[in-house]
Amino acid sequence: MSQDIAVLGVGMHPWGKWGRNFSEYGVYAAREALKDAGIPWQDVQFVSGAATMRCGYPGYVAGATIAQALGWQGAQVNTSYAACASGSQALAAARAKILAGECEVALVVGADTTPKGFLAPAKGYRPEDPDWLRFYLGITNPSYFALYARRRMDLYGDTEEDFGLVKIKNSENGFTNPNARYKKKFTMEEIKNSAMVADPLRLLQICATSDGGAAMIVSSMEYAKRIGKANAVKVAAVSTVTPSFASAVVEMPDIATDSAAAAGVEAHSFRAALPKKAYEQAGIGPEDVSLAEVYDLSSALELDWYEDLMLCPRGEAAQLVREGATKLGGRLPVNTSGGLACFGEAVPAQAIAQVCELTWQLRGQAGERQIANPKVGITANQGLFGHGSSVILKR
């Protein structure tokens, strides 16, 4: 039996630093998705929200907050928190409910309003909290991204220019995206002249935090057929697996990895596990992928994802970007939306935004960013606390 569900509609509120309540972005995105799906709000049977931790109690119950703002209509409701993968986990909840026959059509929505300045841990002396501890020792978010980037340079011979090429590519892709926050085509010189934050990463190679909202209307294939949308883009897989013990890579906010010293324990890469499960669910392989949206928290991290998605052998990702294979018009475009480089991260909305971009591309509605005849798209992201996701869409 098919495990597919249909994407009837997608919508976004443009990313930026707008300073309004997060639910406004969520409602805007939801209404856009409903319009795109061509169904009335009253027909939605399940609201699956992605939580934001930054916006007080309404953020913890984002599904209900946005459902109320759209107007209570008696739908079932759920809120998911999974750090950067919250949006995918909200989609996974909707998919499970649809495939179990408990609802036919669902709204998946995530939105965030970000504070100004650094994200810092709660005050006090709290060494038992790993997030507090690493800040106390002077290890910030860019430190982790920089460790991964430097390891690529020493192990595989990647260069600062390779990371720069990723940023240039994404800035060109996002340039015409109406939902992107940063619309400027950067040159290698501008990137190399931006301030060093955590060697080898400069300011222009590290993503910002943004306000934004994204939403999807998903349904059973039966429902899609009934309303004349049998040809809708389909969700073929949603992977939200945890890491496997022992972690091979030191992950934010930890100060150490797991130990792989016990008999029978091997070190595992979490990032690589996420798409593996998605490919398994969808019954397809990396050779079937037409495009990918990946979490470029840093320009260098995008290259790690090429390898985790098995788009090339380990250590060879820089070659893809040097050849231009992952540009618009290349054989395997990555981050056609412009990626986090052009959006900045709006945590609960970001994984949904990745799926929105795949939907537009697979429908042929991506405007000047449109790539030729894509059939399968995959997303990948990773966040804190063992959360991450990979979603596969197909035509």
């Binding site: 800040f135 430097r150 390891r151 955590a198 990463l201 100060i255 990895t257 797991d258 010293a261 016990a262």
Partner: protein, 144 residues
């Protein structure tokens, strides 16, 4: 120089032995999994149900897994010198424990003096001073 006493920035996480300091970890009694910081509750190896651990001193040397630096002052609770002095950071892989541990690199060593695979040794150095004490922490000292 001050006559302030030297104290561990985080008590119980490392020995205050000036010449050969060690990180204090734990080792599962049953499966041999190491922990830093030490855990004494439940083993995290999914194949092990142990609740008994031994406190152990972890290896003092390892190989650099990767490295970077901090060019900007981190937010609190980091206590920065004024003016802020950038410092390097290393992730060091311990062979016996099969784990990677992060830490600052000793003052005066920057990224151009490090390489993945290079040996690094654990030392103690000042993290910050407060009114009453000099707070020290573990740092990595790359070997030439």
């Amino acid at each position: 120089m001050t006559n302030k006493p030297v104290q561990a920035a985080i008590e119980g996480w490392f020995t205050l032995d000036t010449d050969t300091p060690h990180l204090i970890g734990a080792c599962c009694d049953k499966c041999g999994t190491y922990y830093f910081p030490k855990t004494l509750s439940f083993c995290k190896n999914p194949a092990c149900d142990s609740t008994t651990f031994n406190e152990v001193e972890l290896s003092r040397t390892g190989k650099i897994w990767s490295y970077t630096n901090a060019c900007y002052k981190p937010p609190e609770p980091f206590v920065a010198e004024e003016p802020f002095v950038p410092y390097a950071i290393a992730a060091v892989e311990l062979e016996k424990e099969k784990m990677i541990i992060l830490g600052q690199v000793v003052k005066g060593v920057d990224v151009d003096q490090m390489k993945v695979g290079q040996t690094a040794e654990l030392v103690l150095e000042t993290l910050h001073e407060d009114d009453d004490a000099i707070k020290v922490t573990w740092k990595w000292q790359p070997q030439r």
